[in-house]
Amino acid sequence: AQRVTQPEKLLSVFKGAPVELKCNYSYSGSPELFWYVQYSRQRLQLLLRHISRESIKGFTADLNKGETSFHLKKPFAQEEDSAMYYCAPSPSNTGKLIFGQGTTLQVKP
């Protein structure tokens, strides 16, 4: 079955520590891949999309086609990074985004 999995519901790190939020997907073809973020009391917003290869707020995401993973990384976490993060592949030619269950990142001072 086609699905996306974020195995961690909660990831808690100290400020300055590296962060990796995991995402695995099982879609055939070459889906577009996105990460979305939702800060407290704010709307969901696009963090980054794989195709643009951007680095937003210090985050990057590496696509591993062999492992079908798209993990989100940041070398030094900041307290303002505390939020809910969603991985969202878009299966080819569908226009839809399929969201993972989300991972809450908690960055402690």
Partner: protein
Amino acid sequence: DVKVTQSSRYLVKRTGEKVFLECVQDMDHENMFWYRQDPGLGLRLIYFSYDVKMKEKGDIPEGYSVSREKKERFSLILESASTNQTSMYLCASRQGGYGYTFGSGTRLTVV
């Protein structure tokens, strides 16, 4: 700078009521989507629309319907609200290969 607007931030409705959730976007996007967001389940797609008067079922369409009479407006309808439809409802629009733009959400409570 707000581009996707959901008409209500909070709604409380009674079981059995017909409920309308409205979403308007001002970006001339063709694609619009309705999701519900529940803790531990992430976002689940209810319905989406590629164009005016077109609609497609998502993963959990049961108990819902939609209407898209104009390009900028996409309405979600709960035909007969039930308590298990208590949730946060998110509307989004998308153009081409770019990511979604989300509304701020409507938190619906069915009592």
